[in-house]
Structures are given as C-alpha cells and as structure tokens.
C-alpha cells in the first residue's frame, strides 16, 4: 500500500489519473444525467477551447526564461472578431476569412515571440502589454460605424460556418475529431519524437547549456510563442462557430484558466518540465468538474472557485505527501 501511494505521489500522471477517476466515479453515481453517451461526448466540446489554450501555455511555459503568455485570451478575442467582421460585415468567403483569422493569430504570436526572444524583454511584461494591445484592437475592430461608436458582436454567419463548432460525427463533436486530436498528435510528435522537443526541454531546463550545445535558443522561443498564437487562433475560430457569435469580450479571463490547467497538468512554472499527457489529463479533470457541477445545479461562478481549489489543493497535497515520504 505504501508503495502504491508512493508511486502515485511521485508520478504526476498517475496522481492526475487517480484524481480524474475519483471525480468520474463520484459524478457518475452522484449526478443524474452525467453518465450518458450524449453528456460525455458533449462535454468534450467544451474541453477543446480551453484545451487548445492550455496547450499554448504548456509550450510557452516549457520554454523557460520566465515563459508565460498572458495574452492568449486577447489573441483569441481578436481572431474571433477578425473572422466575425470579415464574414458577417464584409461578406467575405468564410474559408478565406478563417484563414485570415488564423494568420492574424500567428502574426500576434510572432510579435510576442520576437519581443521575448530577440529584444530580450521578459515574457510576463511582453504578454501583459500585448494583452492590453490585442484586447484593445479587438474592441476597435468590433466597432461598426453604421451603428455608432460602440463595439458590437457579429452574429449573421452563413449556415456552413457552424460546421466546425456544432456538428458531430458518430456522436463525437467535429472539433474534437478534426482539430483537437490532430493538434495533440502533432504536438506529441513534436515534443516526444522530433528534435524540436529536445531543443525545447533543453532551452527550458538550462538556457546556457542549450546554447553551448548548439541549440538556437532564440528561434526555439520564437517558435513556441508563434505556435501559442496559432493555437489561440484555432480556439477563437471554434468558439465563434460554436456560440454562433463573435463577441469582443469572448476570451476575457481565459489566460488565467489556461495557465491553471497547464500547471495542474504538471507543467513546472519554471520551465523545462511537463508533458502533453499531463496537460490532457488536466484538461479532462477541469472539463469533467465543470460539467458535473453544472449538471448538479451548482452555479457557474463556482467553476472558477473549484478550479482554484483543485490547483492549489493538488500542488499542496503533492508537496505534503512528498515531504512525508522523506522521513
């Protein structure tokens, strides 16, 4: 028994898996309507948007040097507005608009990356500034001069636009099958099988050592910030399609939730440590928690509270159990 507990404590993945199972069992028995095929698949739909942002935070935090991206929520919002305005107000072809939206995300991430890696400004400061800038741009883009000076949501999309966010294939939401799973597979390949992953963990663990082993530290960091922009853009596209509206406040506060999930998933805030499996587990736990609480009729605002409790509680429990084992 001691050995099992010890293993669970030392292996973050196992720890999270146990937490996930406990939640799953509690909700299945305690909350009516939880353990149904429809609910379980429906739930994954919500996990995708936060999940993509959590992946973005994972990459950025892994790269070390104080890596963090406070601007993912703002990037998501600006992309949502760009796509919304191009389709809904300018009447542009949806595919083209989505492409422009995704490129906007890549561009914003690239700017963050250049400031962090080439101008050597600390990520917290860069992304704090870009949080303000991108949020502001989203508000400006959302203004429709025909209806006065205030930012307005866009919601007159053609039917085809709802495909990615609302359709299902064999009961499984489209965005899970065709966006989230491929993204995870690609990231998994990049981190675990490709040289890029070794560079990234190297840079995050010890920047100087990585530099002297010939790793291009700057380019590695630039790449992760750019990727973060792209992932935030994907999330912005999906969310716009799912809620059938592009809102200038859609991504508000998402950065904090995404960071929380990444850290819960075992990504070390100091960089260089953490796995994609752990973060997926973190996403699953939080999605399950949100869904279970919603079905149990607990007010939405407690979602955030429980997120905080799970985050602090899990790290604290881990810390305490580890400390006890040392005696």
């Amino acid at each position: 028994m001691r050995r099992i507990v010890g293993q669970i404590v030392e292996n973050r993945m196992l720890f999270l898996l146990v937490l996930l199972l406990i939640l799953f069992i509690v909700f299945s028995f305690g909350v009516p309507g939880f353990f149904t095929f429809y609910n379980l698949t429906n739930m994954t739909q919500y996990g995708v948007e936060l999940g993509l942002l959590a992946m973005a935070e994972m990459l950025v935090i892994l790269s070390g040097g104080g890596g963090i991206d406070l601007s993912v929520g703002s990037m998501l919002t600006l992309v949502a507005m760009v796509i919304g305005v191009l389709i809904g107000r300018a009447g542009l072809n949806p595919s083209l608009s989505i492409l422009v939206g995704l490129l906007t995300g890549v561009g914003m991430g690239y700017v963050n990356g250049v400031l962090v890696s080439y101008l050597r400004i600390l990520p917290l400061i860069v992304t704090l500034a870009s949080l303000y800038i991108y949020k502001s741009l989203a508000l400006i883009v959302a203004v429709d001069p025909r209806f006065g000076p205030n930012p307005m949501p866009v919601s007159n999309f053609p039917e085809t636009f709802y495909f990615v966010g609302q359709y299902r294939l064999g009961g499984i939401p489209f965005q899970v099958l065709f966006i989230f799973i491929p993204v995870i597979l690609i990231l998994w390949f990049l981190l675990e099988k490709h040289a890029f992953g070794r560079y990234l963990y190297g840079v995050g663990n010890n920047e100087t050592a990585a530099f002297f082993s010939g790793i291009n530290v700057r380019r590695t960091r630039l790449t992760v910030y750019t990727l973060a922009g792209f992932l935030a853009a994907l999330s912005g596209w999906i969310i716009t399609s799912r809620i059938a509206s592009a809102r200038p406040d859609v991504g508000l506060g998402y950065e904090m939730q995404a960071i929380t999930i990444a850290v819960l998933g075992g990504v070390n805030i100091k960089g260089g440590e953490g796995t994609i499996g752990g973060v997926i587990m973190g996403v699953a736990i939080i999605t399950l928690l949100y869904n279970g609480m919603q079905l149990a009729g607990i007010h939405q605002i407690w979602q955030l509270g429980s997120l905080g409790v799970v985050l602090v509680g899990s790290v604290l429990l881990n810390q305490m159990l580890l400390a006890r084992r040392k005696f």
Binding site: I125, L128, A129
Partner: protein
C-alpha cells in the same frame, strides 16, 4: 553607487514622461488643468497607488500576486455590506483591512510554508475569492451606500483628496521602511539572492509571509477607498485590477526578476497610467484604444531601458 544612480534615472524617465504628457494635455485640452479634473485624477489614482506599494514589495522578493483584483472586490463587498447594515465607519475600516489581511495571510502562508510558487497560489486564490465574493453578493449589486464613508473617497484637505494624503503618507513610510529598516532590507536581500540572505540570518519564510500579508492589508484599504469613491459594489469589481497595478509597478522600474525597485517608482508608474487614461478621455479618444496606448507604453518604456542599458555598457 552605480545602481542607485541607474535607479534614479529610471524614475526620472517616468517623471519626465509624466511632465511631458501633462504639458501636452494642458495645451491641447482646456479642462486638464481644471481643479475638478485634477481632483478626479488623484481620486482614481489613490487605490492603484496604495495597492502598488504592496505589489512592489512582492515583486522585489521575486514573487507576484495576481489575486489582488479579487481581494479588492472582496474587501469592497465586505465594506459595502457592513455599511448597508449601518455599521460604524471605524469598524468598517477595520473590517475591510482585516479581510485583506486574512486573504494576504492565506497567500503568504501557502507560499512561505507550503512552498508553492506564488503565481500558482495567487492564480488559485484569484478564482476562489471571486467565487466566494459572488456567493456573498448573490449576483446582485450593492448600491446606495450611506454617505458617512464617502469622506474617505471624496473628501478633501487643503484642496487635495484625503485618499491622496493617505497614499502619500504610506509611500513615505514604506520608502523609509524599505531603505532603512532591517526587515525592509531583508526584502531586497530575499529577491537578490535567497541563499545568501538565508545565510546572513534573514528568515525567508517570515519575510515572505510578511510581504503578502501587508499587501493584503493595503489592498483591503484600497477596496475601502473604492467603495467610498464609487458608492457601488458589483460582482466584477476589481477584475483586471491586478494587471493595472502590475503595469504601474513595472513601468516604475521594479524588476520582475526581483531585488530591484522602489515604491516611489511605482507611484510614478501609477501616475503615468492615470494621466494617460485621463488625457485620453479629455481628448475624446475612444475608450477602446486605451489598452493600445497603455500596452504600447509598457513596451516602449521597457525597450528604452534595454537600449539604455546596452549604451551604458559600451
């Protein structure tokens, strides 16, 4: 010695920017120099500046506190609720600061003794406190707060708002504290090199606990000022406040890596943000682009620093 002159320069840059902006705004708008506008500016500044004192100390230790927005909201709710129940002003002041102290204590305890990174603890607390606050308010507003308290938010002495007097007193006190008291020096030592600080007899855990707790009290007081100034508390009171305060502190020259910074710098940083917001309103620049300007300013001021640091090395 060299470090001090460098520090002074940084504050001087910010001060220079403030002067330039003030001149520009007073030439381009008629209302900028009016008493009512300047009073308004100072009133809005006080809360940010007071919270920035605590944030400066936290960042000097190498930490960060992103939960202060929720903390501000919570102490505002407590103060607002008590005032609606016509509690005496004195006890409301104590309660607001007491609630802040309690929240700061929890943060500090988890960071100092639980050995959890500050960003994780305060991220968690940001969400937990916001949920509790919502529960307390039940999704409604508190408005129509009795006027007894409003003197703290709107009252004046010698033509300057009382909240600004309090801010100035606090700034002077904490400047002295950080420069001349051993606990104050310990805060810098902790941020510069924790190991060296520990060896030279600094109690790291106690110093950490102290910094977060004091920040809690200061934010509690800022919450009180908020209630006193606006007379209203909503469920989203204080959201984004943490970013505004961090921006002020960073603009004021405190290094996010720790070990370096002054509360006067942060006061100037808060002034800079405040004056820009104010000027933009007067110039009829749409509020939408406020973030654009503040964000660009953070970047520009940091880039100036980077460039200047390179120049000095040559």
């Amino acid at each position: 010695m060299k470090r001090r002159t460098l520090l002074r320069k940084r504050e001087f840059t910010v001060f220079g920017l403030i002067v330039v902006l003030a001149v520009v705004f007073s030439l381009t708008t008629e209302r900028f120099l009016s008493v009512s506008n300047l009073t308004n500016l100072l009133l809005q500044l006080a809360g940010t500046a007071i919270a920035a004192i605590g944030m400066t100390m936290i960042i000097i230790t190498g930490g960060i506190d992103v939960s202060i927005g929720s903390m501000l909201g919570m102490s505002s709710v407590v103060a607002g609720k008590l005032l609606m129940g016509s509690a005496p002003v004195f006890s409301v002041v104590l309660a607001a600061m007491g609630v802040g102290l309690l929240m700061g204590l929890v943060n500090g305890f988890l960071i100092a003794y639980g050995k959890i990174p500050p960003i994780i603890v305060t991220l968690g607390m940001l969400n937990i406190i916001r949920s509790l606050l919502f529960q307390l308010l039940g999704g409604r507003w508190v408005s129509g707060i009795p006027p007894a308290i409003r003197v703290i938010g709107l009252g004046k002495w010698l033509g300057i708002p009382i909240s600004m007097w309090i801010t100035v007193i606090l700034i002077v006190f904490f400047s002295y504290f950080l420069n001349s008291r051993s606990l104050g020096r310990a805060i810098y030592a902790l941020g510069n090199n924790p190991e060296a600080a520990r060896v030279s007899g600094v109690n790291l855990a106690k110093t950490t606990l102290f910094v977060y707790t004091v920040t809690g009290i200061l934010v509690g007081f800022a919450g009180l000022i908020y209630v006193a100034r606006t007379g209203i508390v909503q469920t989203n009171t204080g959201t984004g406040f943490e970013l505004e305060v961090i921006a002020a502190v960073v603009l004021g020259g405190t290094s996010i890596l720790g070990g370096k910074g002054t509360v006067i710098g942060s006061l100037l940083g808060a002034f800079l943000v405040g004056i820009i917001k104010n000027g933009m309103v007067l110039l009829n620049v749409p509020a939408l682009s406020e973030g654009l300007v503040i964000g660009a300013l953070i970047l520009v001021s940091v880039v100036i620093d980077v460039v200047r640091a390179r120049g000095e090395r040559l």
